[in-house]
Subunit: 432 residues, 2 copies
Amino acid sequence: ESGALAKVQRILNSGLAPVDVAHLIESSPPKARKILWELVDKELEGEVLQYLSEELQSHFLSDMSAAEVVDMTADLDTDDVADMLQQLPERVTQEVLDSMDQVDRARVEAILGYPEDSAGGLMNTDTVTIRPEITLDVVLRYLRRHKSLPAMTDNLLVVNRQNEFIGLLPVSKLLVSDPQQTVREVMTTDAKIIPATMHDTDVAKLFERHDLVSAPVVDAAGVLIGRITIDDVVDVIRETADHSLMSMAGLDEDEDTFAPALKTSRRRAVWLGINLITALAASAVIGLFDKTIEQVVALAVLMPIVASMGGIAGSQVLTLVIRGQALGHLSGANFRWLFNRELIVAGINGILWAVVIAIVTFAWFHDIKIALIIGSSIIINLLVAAITGAALPLILKARGIDPALAGGVILTTVTDVVGFMTFLGLATLFYL
Amino acid sequence: ESGALAKVQRILNSGLAPVDVAHLIESSPPKARKILWELVDKELEGEVLQYLSEELQSHFLSDMSAAEVVDMTADLDTDDVADMLQQLPERVTQEVLDSMDQVDRARVEAILGYPEDSAGGLMNTDTVTIRPEITLDVVLRYLRRHKSLPAMTDNLLVVNRQNEFIGLLPVSKLLVSDPQQTVREVMTTDAKIIPATMHDTDVAKLFERHDLVSAPVVDAAGVLIGRITIDDVVDVIRETADHSLMSMAGLDEDEDTFAPALKTSRRRAVWLGINLITALAASAVIGLFDKTIEQVVALAVLMPIVASMGGIAGSQVLTLVIRGQALGHLSGANFRWLFNRELIVAGINGILWAVVIAIVTFAWFHDIKIALIIGSSIIINLLVAAITGAALPLILKARGIDPALAGGVILTTVTDVVGFMTFLGLATLFYL
């Protein structure tokens, strides 16, 4: 047993890359996680921790003293250290900062000064800066004095005496140009410059559109304060994309797949509670028509079809619009076109499926009245579903509510209520 | 009017970057799209086209002759040309290939020989290769003979006489090392090498885990055939993430937000048809118990609650497992733990909401029997939902069916059928 543990320990600390150890820990149930984490060597803890999800970072960090955190983060990039510190209580963060050396401390504090989801929170402070007046030959000799360059250094950053950003010297240009030229002659001045306050999803769009590997970050005065690299942007892209998927099921994109049962139950309970209210609203509508159902039980048999077809059609529109918003494809001008298109689509599919369902209903219950009523309800509910699915994300977004989280619940409430109301209402009108 | 058009034309061809023109075209309804595309200068068409979605590429390409396609793609990267050619009919592709010069043709054909979703289909063929025995000084002089280096050249690729890949010389290492050293002394030999047949999602995982900017692609014999860069990998990451979101609503991740109404209607109709079958199955179950409903109309009022709570709980588990699969967190060993956790969660939430719903039901209908029946049905349906939501993605994946596409429909069918069956079945048992 202890032989097996020693073997695992050896694999964790010398066989696997820290990122793979982190992946292994994330893929393990709570107990195995704890054991694995304890087997990781002290020197590797920081490396492993930086690849873990925020939830797990804060879980493991909460057991550590400030001194241990300082030791562990000594060799990490400043942006990763800043990310970790954000998972700690204010008091511990201060203690950790106090025990760092002055340079590192200033760097981490620069990042902590910006929100986590801004360019400033995403940036790294390890930049290689040069002056415009020197020759490329001097640059080459200057670089050779370094032991290594920061990861993903595809550009050297050109700054003036006030450390204001004035241009980029791509490494690829440095390599192919005549060494006697000056930096100013070779540098590019139309670089994408990122203000520290830019939202991280906008940073991601900029990187995606212009195929960037890194980009300089400046403060409000134009002073260079850091650099964002594509590896951190990829995390933002992945999280943003995950967010819509998870939110639509009422889950958090940071959701830990292997969270303990009690924690999971508590989180899920909230979502079920919200949806219970939806279900009760639908039931209340049905309750209004209990006399009609008593007389024609076929209505109870058929009513879920009307609600369900509306929900399905609406959620297609909702998903399309939410995705369009995320990609930046939707604005006021083209939304009008999309809205009309969705009404036409709902009309076409409404008529198509109304006919099919009416035929099925007639074949089943041999009642032409009920067949006509369900057909009309399907058309009405599909039109309402299209309007709701298209308009809801815009209304919610304008009010600062996340469409991916709230959209589905509200849509289902509308299509359920309208579906039951039209179907049972029309039936009451024509039967009683 | 024509003055305004000329203005737009000027903006399109000199004011905006090609990627922004592509974004504008993607964000426009069909008619505006056609006009915009016609205003783009012939020389820029290729640049713009490479940023459009596959659906739009094939739409615009279908109007072009082979000669026009050759002209348009002359200045593009080989991987982008290959991507476009894959949107053309076989006959036109051959014609285009025939009219290319020999070097370009060989390069494009090398890519076309691999599936679009493999490393070979994703790679670019413009690599900078060097021999291990030369000194860094010679490398620097060799590079200076180039006008420019391919985009995202963070590594030079070291090959032997047979063009077999033997190592990487990171540009950052080239810059900080003593020029008298040989490539062999400085190069790294533990590079991540990508076989041309690797699936593109696995390539993306490798890039994400190891923070790569580019990686060499080799064929089965170990011969270097190309290079994959992070910009193309980001597209794969975005598409993979989009896929789950869109599939769950029965949409395609390449879905054009502004497709014409008729095309959209046809695609959506299929999904509505599939879901109608689900709804009819649920109705059939209700139909079995029409005599019971006739006697106790409250059952018709309450039954959607049981089905809906099951659907919501199940889709949370389903989404979590599908995400876990995509992240590579789930394997046989930890799935067992997850399955048990979900059963416990379903038990806890089942009991909690069964009590709440039973109380609401009793307050509403003053009938203790019906309150107990709905409570029990909720617990049973939540347990079934958890089992289905957890097991379904694994079963579907093992059979080569996409869980994101089929999972939701099957889950809803199960929770509807089981929900109505238990609730109405128990009622029939205890009332009649």
